[in-house]
Symmetry: none
DNA sequence: TATAATGTTAATATTTGGTTAATGCATTAT
DNA sequence: ATAATGCATTAACCAAATATTAACATTATA
C-alpha cells in the first residue's frame, strides 16, 4: 500500500476519539503520532517531519487555529486538515486564513477522511513534482518566471524581482480573483504575523502595484482588514 | 432522476463491452460519450467538460494510467474510475498514483459500478460545496459573497460591505424568515452586549436596509425587544 | 401618556492601508 | 579593507475605510 511511510501528526484532546482515529489510520498503513493537546502537538511537530497534520479545533490551552499558525511559521508547506464540531460559518474563514487545506465536521465518515487525506497528500506531492516545471505564470499582459524571478511585460526587458516580491506575487496569482488573506501571506512568506511584518507586506504590495501599472487591466485590490485580491479585467487568464 | 446532466467519458477499447456499458449507463440517465482508445479519449476530454471518467486500463497505444495522468494535468478535480481485468497489487497502486478515485475489476456487477459512480459524483460535488458555498448566499434578487464582502443586486456592480455589515447580514440570512435575537448578534459580532453596542447595531441595521431597498421583496423587520427578522416575500430563496 | 426601544443621520474616533524615504544589514565588487 | 549594491525592515505621514457615539425623531407597549 502506498500509505506506508506517510507520517501523520494527529492532535486531538479527546483521548478516546483520538485513539480510535489513530488506529483507523494505522490500519490504513499510515504512520501516526498522536498528541493530546496543542502544546504537545507543537513539540512533536518540531521534533519530526510530517506529511500531514490533522488538528482538532477545540482544545484547551491552545486551539487548532493557533497551533496551525505556529506550524505554518515553521513549515509553510505541510498540509493541514481541521477537525471541528462547529458548523458556524465564521470558523471556516478562520481556518482558511490559517492556511487550511481542508475542513471536516465531526462526526464524520471515516471513508471521507481517508479520501481527503489521500487527495491532499497526492495533490501536495504532485505540486512538488510539478513545481520544477510549473513556475511560469501569465497574468494579463505580464509573464512571471518565479524561478528566475523575472517579470516580463509583453516584449520588454524583464524586471528582476526580489525574493519577497516574487513570493508575494506568486501567492496573489495563485489566488487570482479571490481573496489572498493577509495572515496567509504573513505566516507563509514572512513566517511571522505582527504589526511590522504587516507593514512590510504593504510596502511590497506598493512595489508590485508599481510593476503592474503598465497593464491597466491588472489590479491589486484591498479588502479592508482581510487581505488583497489580484484581478484581471478583460480576463482570459490563459 | 438526479443522473440527468451528469456527463461521463467512457474509454474502452473492447467495442462490444463498451457499447453494452454505455447503454446501461444511458438507461440510468447519464449522458455518455464513448471513446475507443486513449488517444481518442483525450481528444474528447479536451473538447468538453465531464463529471466522471471511466477508463479501461489495458488499451493499445495509450493505456488508462497514461491517459489518467494527461487528464489530471488538464483537470485535477474530475473523478476517475479504472476498469481492469488485472488484480495485481502494483496496478492498483499505479492507478492511485495516477489519481484514481476508485477501482473496479472486470468482470463486475453493473449495480456495483452504478453505486460507486453515484457515491463518487456526490462526494466530489459536496467537496466543492464545502469549499465554495459556505461564502455564497442568495437572498431575493441579491447575492452575497461573504468572503469578498460583496453584495450584488442582479447584474449591477457589487456593493462593498464593511466587516460588520457583512457579518450582520450573513447572520440575518442564516436566520432567514426567523428571529435573529439581538443578543446573539451582539455577543457574536460585537463581542459585547451593552447600550452602546446595541445602538451601534441599530446603525448597521439602518445601513443594511438602505442596501436592500432595491428589492422590495426583501425586508428587515424589528421584533420589539427581541431582535430582527429578515423576510423575503415572494420567497423562493433558491 | 410615560417609558423604553428603535430609526436615522451626522459628527467624531479609531483602525487600517498607501506611499515614500530613511535605516540597517548582508553580500559583492573594487 | 572599503565602497557599492541589493534587499528587507522601519519610520513617518497622509488618506481611506470602518466603527462608535451623539443627537434627535419616531414607534411600540404597558
Amino acid at each position: 500500500m502506498e500509505n506506508v511511510n506517510k507520517k501523520i501528526l494527529l492532535v486531538e484532546d479527546d483521548l478516546n476519539f483520538g485513539a480510535v482515529l489513530k488506529d483507523y489510520l494505522m490500519l490504513n498503513d499510515f504512520e501516526v503520532v498522536l498528541a493530546k493537546n496543542g502544546m504537545e502537538g507543537f513539540e512533536k511537530f518540531k521534533k519530526d517531519n510530517y506529511d500531514l497534520c490533522i488538528l482538532d479545533v477545540m482544545m484547551p490551552y491552545k486551539d487548532g487555529y493557533t497551533l496551525a499558525k505556529e506550524i505554518r511559521e515553521k513549515n509553510s508547506e505541510v498540509p493541514i486538515i481541521f477537525l471541528t464540531a462547529k458548523t458556524m460559518k465564521e470558523d471556516v474563514m478562520k481556518g482558511y486564513k490559517a492556511g487550511a487545506d481542508d475542513y471536516l465536521n465531526k462526526p464524520f465518515d471515516s471513508e471521507v477522511l481517508l479520501m481527503k487525506i489521500k487527495a491532499i497528500i497526492q495533490r501536495k506531492s504532485s505540486e512538488v513534482k510539478t513545481d520544477q516545471v510549473q513556475f511560469e505564470f501569465n497574468i494579463g499582459k505580464f509573464h512571471l518566471n518565479s524561478k528566475l524571478r523575472f517579470l516580463t511585460f509583453q516584449n520588454e526587458e524583464p524586471i528582476k524581482l526580489s525574493p519577497k516580491e516574487n513570493e508575494l506575487l506568486k501567492m496573489l496569482i495563485l489566488h487570482e480573483n479571490d481573496l489572498m488573506p493577509r495572515e496567509l501571506a504573513l505566516t507563509k512568506i514572512w513566517r511571522d504575523d505582527n504589526y511590522f511584518t504587516s507593514r512590510s507586506m504593504d510596502v511590497y504590495i506598493a512595489k508590485l502595484r508599481k510593476y503592474l501599472k503598465p497593464d491597466e487591466d491588472v489590479e491589486i485590490l484591498n479588502i479592508h482588514g482581510e487581505g488583497f485580491r489580484l484581478v484581471v479585467k478583460s480576463s482570459t487568464t490563459a
